[in-house]
Each structure stands twice: as structure tokens, then as C-alpha cells.
């Protein structure tokens, strides 16, 4: 192979399982184009019949929050337990929620 795999862009793989409603992040892989990425994702991440649908997304398209911003982004919600819906009396008739 004249082209090193390092030259192939990275893709993030999301797989939706049989009884899952959402695609979940499974991992990443290198592939020269979207079609190959999809095929490789099938081969690498669904070998044990994990999924019924696959998304691949160029890793470069992912916009991530910065670890430096962790405090301002997430700390403020730590001391607001009232946002968890645990203070309500649930009528017995409702059963499991």
C-alpha cells in the first residue's frame, strides 16, 4: 500500500443496537472515504451483531467542549439537586416510572 493509514482521515462510529433508540458512540477508525468508513465500521464494530444501523462522522467535524471550561460549564449544576425530579410524591397507581 503506497498510502500510509496515517494519511487516512479518522472517523467516529455510532451504532444503534437492536433495542436502542439512539446511536451510541462505539469508537473510531481510519478510512480513505465515507463509504469505506461505513464498511469498515460494519466489520470492526458489528461483528457480534451489535447493531442495526451505523453512522460514521469525520472526527474533524466533532466540536468538543474544552476540559478547561469544565468548571463554568458543569459545576453550577452540581448544587441544584432540585432539578432532579425526586421531590414529588408519585401516586401508587402510576407504578414504575
Amino acid at each position: 500500500m503506497s498510502q500510509s493509514p496515517d494519511a487516512w482521515p479518522l472517523w467516529e462510529v455510532f451504532v444503534r443496537s437492536k433495542n436502542g433508540l439512539a446511536h451510541k458512540h462505539s469508537g473510531s477508525l481510519h478510512a480513505p472515504d465515507a463509504e469505506t468508513a461505513l464498511k469498515s465500521a460494519r466489520d470492526v464494530y458489528t461483528r457480534r451483531s451489535e447493531g442495526v444501523s451505523i453512522w460514521v462522522i469525520p472526527s474533524s467535524a466533532v466540536v468538543a467542549s474544552s476540559p478547561d471550561e469544565r468548571e463554568p460549564l458543569f459545576a453550577p449544576s452540581d448544587d441544584k439537586p432540585y432539578r432532579h425530579p425526586t421531590f414529588y410524591d408519585i401516586p401508587d397507581e402510576v407504578g414504575h416510572m
Binding site: S2, Q3, P5, H30, A31, K39, S40
Partner: protein, 252 residues
């Protein structure tokens, strides 16, 4: 059933040998693929083929009804009793050689299984229907690599064209109608009947790959179906059969 079970057993054995030998060959790539993604892809194909081989060996053992098991048939027969096509026993060579061999075989297997899945023999049709789904993917995978390498760089184009030219002489045997096929008329397809479909597939993919199709009427190598093999099969069997032959009582 109007077909002799010994003939059906021999037929299943040939298919078993094809898929086992190619599966064994492909598994040599395990851990040696050019990149992790393709290493796993090819290993998956190898596993599918070995799974198909087991199905055929079990069928053959049941039809022979002589007490032999799938393991006896796979591990205790010598090369001259193997009835696989010469193509599948050829060495892996480089990535292009492997994928050219794979594309030739996948396309053949695809059209074979398409016909075999309509067989009135329920064992054959059931296995063919399951294998057809697997092989549809194999054929797509190998065809894409032919296109990618052919329509790739100058180097990849030259190398894959050389692989195709070198392996071409082993494709004629895939469509050889033998006495066994004729005896099983109605139960299994005559290989010559889907040669045109196979050639058409070759033309389509080679056009996309900007590759030249070798002469379909060129001289072709034969003999595998009748137990006359290349020197390569002996080495494959020696490695594959070593353990059960050296330790006949070994258990999984």
C-alpha cells in the same frame, strides 16, 4: 429423492473443500493485514467461509452415512481426495493478488449460491440461502478493492492488472461441468450456465477499475475437481491437519 446420496455427498464435499481451503488461506492474513480495519474485514470473510465449509462437511458426512464426521472429512483426507478448485489454494501473494483471487471466487460463489438456493434438496437450499447473504457482502467488498486498486495510483493499477492476468488461467475451472454435476441435474446448477453472468460482472467491475479483461478463451488450468492439485495444497493441508493427525485423540 431421485439423486443418489453418494453423489450429493461428493458434491457437498467439493463445495466444503473450496470454502475450507480459501478460508484457511485468508486466515493467514489475520494479524498481517495492511491496516487493522482491512485485517478484520478479511478475517470476517475467512470465518464466513469456514462456517460455510462446516455446513457442507456436516451435510456430506450425513449423506455418506459411513460414520465419518465433519472433522474426519476436513482433517483426515489427503490432497488427492480434495476436490476444490485450483484457484482457492494459490498462495496469498500481496494484497492485490489476494483480492483478485477473492473477487474471482466471490463472484463465482455469488452466482452459484443464487442458483443453489433454489435447489429442491432442502439441505443444499437452506445452506445456500444463508451463505448467499454473506457472499453478497464478500463480493461487494472484493469488487470495491478491485476498483480502488485499478483506478488508484499508477503502481496499484499496474500491480492489480498483473494479479488479474496471473490468476486468470485459474478461472476457467470454476465453470467446468463435470459428470458429477450432470448426475445431479435438477438438484444443482451446471457451472457453465452462470459463466455469462460471471463474465458480465467481470466486465462491469473491470470497466470501473480501468482494467483490461483478459481473454475469456485463453488456455485454462484444470484438475482440482479431480484431485490433481498444485503443489501448494499439500502445504496447506500439512499445516491444517497437523494437530488432529499427530494427536488423534485431542479434544477441543
Amino acid at each position: 429423492m431421485k439423486w443418489a446420496t453418494c453423489d450429493l455427498a461428493d458434491y457437498a464435499l467439493r463445495k466444503a473443500d473450496d470454502t475450507l481451503v480459501l478460508g484457511q488461506r485468508l486466515s493467514e492474513w489475520c494479524g498481517h493485514g495492511p491496516v487493522l480495519e482491512q485485517d478484520i474485514a478479511l478475517t470476517n470473510v475467512a470465518l464466513d467461509l469456514i462456517g460455510q465449509a462446516r455446513g457442507y462437511y456436516q451435510m456430506a458426512a450425513a449423506w455418506r452415512a459411513d460414520g465419518s464426521t465433519e472433522d474426519d472429512l476436513a482433517y483426515r483426507r489427503d490432497a488427492h481426495l480434495y476436490g476444490n478448485h485450483l484457484l482457492v489454494e494459490l498462495p496469498n501473494g500481496h494484497w492485490g493478488d489476494t483480492l483478485a483471487r477473492q473477487f474471482f471466487f466471490d463472484a463465482y460463489n455469488f452466482f452459484l449460491l443464487e442458483q443453489l438456493s433454489k435447489s429442491p434438496v432442502p439441505e443444499l437450499s437452506a445452506l445456500a440461502q444463508k451463505a448467499y447473504k454473506e457472499v453478497s457482502y464478500h463480493a461487494q467488498f472484493s469488487a470495491e478493492w478491485i476498483i480502488r486498486l485499478g483506478d488508484g495510483t499508477d503502481e496499484s493499477h499496474t500491480k492489480i492488472q498483473q494479479s488479474v492476468n496471473r490468476l486468470w488461467a485459474y478461472t476457467g475451472e470454476l465453470f467446468e461441468d463435470t459428470d458429477l454435476d450432470r448426475k445431479l441435474d435438477g438438484a444443482v446448477p451446471l457451472p457453465s450456465t452462470f459463466r455469462a453472468d460471471w463474465l458480465q460482472k467481470m466486465r462491469e467491475v473491470f470497466a470501473l477499475a480501468t482494467l483490461e479483461l483478459p481473454d475469456p478463451n485463453a488456455y485454462m488450468q484444470k484438475g482440482g475437481l479431480h484431485g490433481r492439485h498444485t503443489e501448494h495444497l499439500g502445504y496447506i493441508l500439512a499445516e491444517m491437519q497437523y494437530l488432529p493427525r499427530a494427536y488423534p485423540d485431542a479434544k477441543w
